[in-house]
């Protein structure tokens, strides 16, 4: 298939279609409206269903119903809308339902603004709703990667019977880049889901539920979920850029900021500074081992985010006892320029390495 120039939001929508998804439930919010817009035109062509629900709360519970019936389905929203879906996400995880949830993040808290942000990292990786649950979180940094990860998200959701989140920001959603869809999955060819509530003809009824009134049972259920989250470690992935050597500064960034970092790094390399990038692609599970393997060759570690500092806590959890971790962030919808990030890295490079004893 030839490459097409597509908006990130449209590419995410088409990737879902190519992954065999025929059901979308959502509620409009900037800056991800092109996803429901695209699905509203595309799904009816294919015999699928697009539902604009009365709210995000309703949309996310429609997702519960469709996934419980064994259907591939997804929703997309932006930060305040994802907050409204938090209750359903807990239920989806508790009931072990495979769904894909896209968050094209905007700046908060509260209604905040419509401009790009990465301030929902905690919400995505630590659990938006109640209870001991996790969702697998994928963070693309190009439109092509958004399409690739979106397709894969459905497979991962099925594999682990768990919600998978794809997080981008307003830039990933709104920018256009060349994209090609490398796979095509016919909904008819999707694997059977023997646990799904599909009518119980000639078999005992299946139950999809997160209610366990006996504490002994609920504890066992929780340990089962934890073993599943531990098994997700097999999916951990990352990418590096010019980081396979001893470095003055290692920048750690994901999504859009990782791209901005590449531009900063190119400029710093021209000045002779050894600066590289570590980019987590899975935010949960976090590529901790790979991060330390790269970071131990760096004099300084600088985490850059479009937030006041969220992922930096995970980086510190991995290496704080072994390296000092500095932070550079913009927030509120302000996007850091490649120059200001380069300046921050350059200033850091000029001070002696502080390696905690």
């Amino acid at each position: 298939m030839a490459k097409k120039l597509m908006k990130g939001c449209e590419a995410i929508g088409e990737a879902a279609v190519q992954a065999g998804c025929r059901l979308f439930f959502g509620y409009p919010i900037t800056p991800q409206n092109e996803i429901p817009e695209y699905m509203s035109a595309r799904l009816p062509q294919l015999g699928g269903v697009f539902v604009q629900a009365e709210s995000e709360v309703a949309a996310s519970n429609m997702l519960y119903g469709a996934a419980g019936a064994g259907c591939r389905c997804f929703t997309s929203s932006s930060s305040p809308g994802i907050s409204l879906m938090a209750e359903a996400m807990s239920y989806l995880a508790g009931s072990e339902l495979p769904v894909v949830i896209v968050n094209i993040m905007r700046a908060g808290p509260g209604l905040g603004g419509i401009l790009p942000s990465q301030s929902d990292y905690f919400q995505a990786t630590k659990g938006a709703g109640h209870g001991d649950y996790r969702v697998l979180v994928l963070a693309p940094s190009t439109v092509q990667e958004a399409a690739d990860l979106m397709m894969e998200a459905f497979d991962l959701a099925d594999k682990y019977r768990n919600p998978v989140m794809v997080v981008g920001d307003g830039l990933i959603g709104q920018m256009m880049e060349p994209v090609e869809f490398k796979r095509h999955i016919d909904p008819e060819d999707l694997p059977e889901k023997p646990w799904a509530t599909t009518g119980a003809v000639g078999r005992a009824p299946n139950v999809v539920n997160s209610l366990y009134l006996r504490a002994e049972d609920l504890e066992q259920h929780n340990w089962h979920l934890q073993r599943k989250y531990a098994a997700m470690q097999a999916e951990v992935r990352h990418e590096t850029y010019l980081a396979d050597e001893d470095l003055d500064v290692l920048i750690v960034a994901y999504g859009t900021v990782a791209r901005i970092s590449r531009t900063s790094i190119d400029a710093l390399r021209e000045k002779g500074l050894k600066v590289g990038l570590f980019r987590p692609i899975t935010l949960f599970p976090y590529p901790s081992e790979a991060l330390w393997a790269t970071a131990q060759r760096a004099k300084h570690v600088l985490v850059a985010e479009l937030s006041t500092g969220q992922m930096v806590e995970d980086v510190r959890a991995v290496i704080a006892l072994r390296r000092r971790v500095d932070f550079f962030g913009r927030c509120g919808g302000m996007v850091m320029t490649a120059e200001e990030l380069a300046d921050a890295a350059e200033q850091l490079a000029a001070v002696p390495a502080s390696v905690p004893a």
Binding site: L115, Q174, M176, P178, I260, T263
Partner: protein
């Protein structure tokens, strides 16, 4: 080759469209491309802009505060983007709507009466394509024929629109080319 460019004007002048045309043509030329529209509150005020990055390597930042060139179609846009263009960069100015001189002396300024030229060719609506042509003529960044191919695909089945845009692009390119030597001399 790495070029970060901004196109700006009123909403409705077609700055997002010429950005897409340029990005598409760049893609067909084998370059890495990114098109990024301003979608924030600033566009609610009636002005509009987009950033196009063309590069022979993977595109890093999709936004820029130091563009290598800019096409400005109205007064607000030249006020906003003239100060940002890198020294030696190209600034295409739509003199049909911008009645002030460019203050910077370190830019290749390409003045084009884009609305007038487009109107003479059949419709002032194609002023954006005249301006894009002028930029391509001056910069030599992408073969104008690639843009014509994209226009033919975009407006397939509407031959009059294709022809109008063809003529407008060519007139813009012809004007832009007269500034190419100034660029080459730098």
């Amino acid at each position: 080759m790495h070029s970060e460019l901004i196109m700006a004007g009123f909403g409705g002048q077609g700055v997002l469209l010429i950005g897409k045309l340029l990005a598409y043509a760049g893609m067909k030329a084998g370059l890495e491309v990114t098109w990024m529209p301003a979608y924030g509150p600033e566009m609610r005020g009636g002005t509009c802009n987009c950033t196009v990055v063309l590069s022979d390597r993977q595109v890093g930042s999709p936004v820029t505060n130091r563009p290598h060139g800019a096409i400005v179609l109205n007064l607000q846009s030249i006020d906003k983007f003239e100060p940002l263009v890198r020294p030696g960069g190209i600034l295409v100015v739509n003199t049909s709507l911008i009645n002030r001189d460019v203050g910077r002396t370190d830019l290749i300024v390409v003045p084009v009466p884009a609305n007038q030229i487009a109107k003479d060719a059949g419709s002032a609506k194609a002023a954006n394509v005249v301006a894009l042509g002028a930029f391509l003529g001056a910069s030599g960044l992408v073969d104008p024929q690639l843009v014509k191919n994209v226009l033919a695909e975009t407006f397939a089945g509407r031959p009059k629109i294709v022809e109008l845009n063809d003529v407008c692009l060519t007139r813009g390119v012809d004007i832009g080319r007269t500034f190419a030597p100034a660029l080459a001399a730098r």
